[in-house]
């Protein structure tokens, strides 16, 4: 009802003409959309190599953080420091500091000083700090009785973690992980600070060229085209898993 009302009322509002010209201009949309798409390929590439990197690093940090053995204390301390530092510093700063600072400080030759490389490293470090905490929350959420049961049948702590705790932990944290993944997809745009032209930067360039905001709307459409199916896929996976583990219809 509300959507229908909006669709009917909004075009009749007095300012609509100029809003449409500025934000929903069909001609400019058609001209700029192909350029936005090819810039988006860069976003996808960066996403493709940072997502597994973030998962791997955050898992290591979460495991180090949750280490119970006193012998592993230095590792635990390192993990705590890592999380504090990279959650505390805004991602934009981490990217600028590492993306420009490391190649300059180490005088790296090309291609090792590439802003794509160090920007991705910075993004990975920053996001791993957040995702590590999510995974740690998931691990803590697994009831202690699971570990006790595993220990009682003779599994080592390594085996327990790998076969029992982690699978259970991950099941519980799919929504926050999906949050992080979508957030990462958008923060990939921060790499444009280091020079490479990805979709948001390209939208900004076209906006300056045409004095029109439609390219930004185009970029938003492209982002939604990826995030919405990703979210629905995650929802479907969770529903399937709930069915398989005997979920009930009790509301």
């Amino acid at each position: 009802m509300v959507v229908v009302a909006l669709l009917i009322i909004v075009p009749r509002l007095p300012g609509w003409e100029s809003v449409q010209r500025s934000f929903f201009n069909g001609e400019i949309f058609a001209t700029t959309f192909p350029k936005l798409l090819s810039a988006f390929v860069l976003d996808l590439k960066i996403l493709a190599w940072t997502t597994p990197a973030v998962l791997a690093l955050s898992l290591l940090v979460a495991l180090a953080r949750g280490a119970r053995s006193p012998a592993l204390f230095p590792l635990k301390a390192f993990a705590v420091a890592f999380t504090d530092v990279f959650r505390g510093i805004p991602t934009i700063l981490v990217i600028t500091l590492i993306g420009f600072g490391v190649p300059t400080g180490l005088s790296l030759p090309r291609p090792w000083n590439s802003p794509l490389l160090w920007g991705s490293v910075a993004l990975t470090l920053s996001y791993s700090a957040y995702v590590a905490e999510i995974i740690r929350g998931g691990i803590d959420g697994v009831h202690e009785s699971q570990r006790a049961a595993a220990r009682s049948i003779g599994m080592t702590s390594g085996q327990t973690m790998r076969s029992i705790v982690l699978p259970l932990a991950f099941r519980g944290i799919v929504p926050p992980m999906m949050n992080s993944f979508i957030s990462l997809q958008k923060d990939v745009a921060l790499i444009s600070l280091l020079g490479p032209v990805e979709v948001l930067r390209r939208a900004g360039i076209e906006q300056s060229r045409f004095f029109n905001f439609t390219p930004y709307v185009g970029a938003a459409v492209i982002f939604l085209a990826v995030t919405i199916p990703a979210t629905r896929a995650a929802d479907w996976l969770m529903a399937r898993q709930r069915r398989r583990t005997g979920g009930t219809l009790i509301t």
Partner: protein, 287 residues
């Protein structure tokens, strides 16, 4: 129900009434300027101080526009242009006085304490709504600059630039120029501002930066040590500099005539060549 409808209705009514009044007020202002369209006597141009031409520039004023921050020496591109225009208007050198202003504060409506102001003001439509601009006295070419050991040093044509990794600042005419004309083989890197582009130069992530010549000259002379302008690209002019005057100043017409005269006689070209090419030693890169 009735009482809660009354307040929003009253608010809307007030807003509508207020807008109507504001619109009426706007119309009145338009009339004031039209009265003085009678032609101005350019042999006796109207100035803020009788018998004296007051010219303004920036504080401090940089080379190559003003040398040693002293425009009375007539050294520097804008110092030379200012005295040339003053001469055309009928003022001798000792009838010229200088004042200093900031850059932004002057681009505002209202009277000025100078007759005209020159500090590399680019003529734009938005600015022209609140101040008057003379006819352009300079068109800024695109220039390439970077650290002295860059592979861009010694580039003599646009072809030489194609193989380089080029950086530009976003939202500039330089970006359009690099994309459309230079069309380098490697992707162009775009930065929020010249400070970030400089960081990229330091990290050797780019070989050179393309910007308009005035900006390039300023950055290489003042902001980043060890950089130099490799050249200015011929035929790449975009931004135009104009003298800034108060809005609807009758002197604007006289200044336009002066600039046209200097242009016709070739004196403007000579001044430009002397200060913007020879003095800066920015060689021309053929396009």
């Amino acid at each position: 129900m009735r009482r809660s409808l009354l307040t929003p209705l009253a608010a809307v009514g007030l807003l509508a009434g207020g807008t109507l009044f504001a619109a009426c007020g706007g119309d009145d202002d338009g009339d004031a300027g039209d009265g003085d369209d009678a032609s101005v006597d350019c042999d006796n141009p109207p100035t803020v101080s009788d018998g004296v031409l007051t010219i303004a520039t920036g504080e401090p004023a940089f080379p190559p526009y003003v040398i040693d921050d002293d425009p009375t020496n007539k050294q520097g591109f804008e110092a030379a242009v200012a005295y040339a225009v003053a001469g055309e208007l009928g003022f001798s050198d000792d009838q010229v006085t200088w004042v200093r202003t900031g850059f932004d504060e002057v681009i505002a409506p209202g009277g000025k304490n100078f007759d005209f102001n020159l500090q590399q003001y680019t003529i734009t439509d938005e600015r022209a709504e609140v101040v008057d601009f003379s006819a352009p006295y300079y068109t800024a070419a695109q220039a390439v600059f970077g650290y002295e050991d860059s592979p861009a040093a010694g580039a003599s044509s646009v072809e030489d630039l194609k193989a380089l990794r080029i950086g530009v600042a976003r939202g500039t005419t330089s970006l359009t120029y690099v994309e459309d004309v230079i069309d380098p083989d490697q992707d162009i890197f775009v930065y929020d501002d010249n400070a970030d582009a400089k960081a990229a130069l330091d990290a050797d992530q780019i070989d050179a930066i393309v910007s308009d010549l005035p900006t390039a000259l300023y950055i290489t002379a003042v902001e980043i040590e060890g950089t130099t302008v490799f050249g200015q690209i011929e035929g790449s002019g975009t931004d135009e500099f104009g003298l800034l005057l108060a809005k609807d100043n009758p002197l604007t017409e006289c200044v336009d005539q002066a600039i046209a005269a200097l242009d016709d006689s070739g004196e403007l070209d000579a001044i430009t060549q002397e200060w913007m090419s020879d003095w800066t030693e920015a060689p021309v890169i053929s396009s």
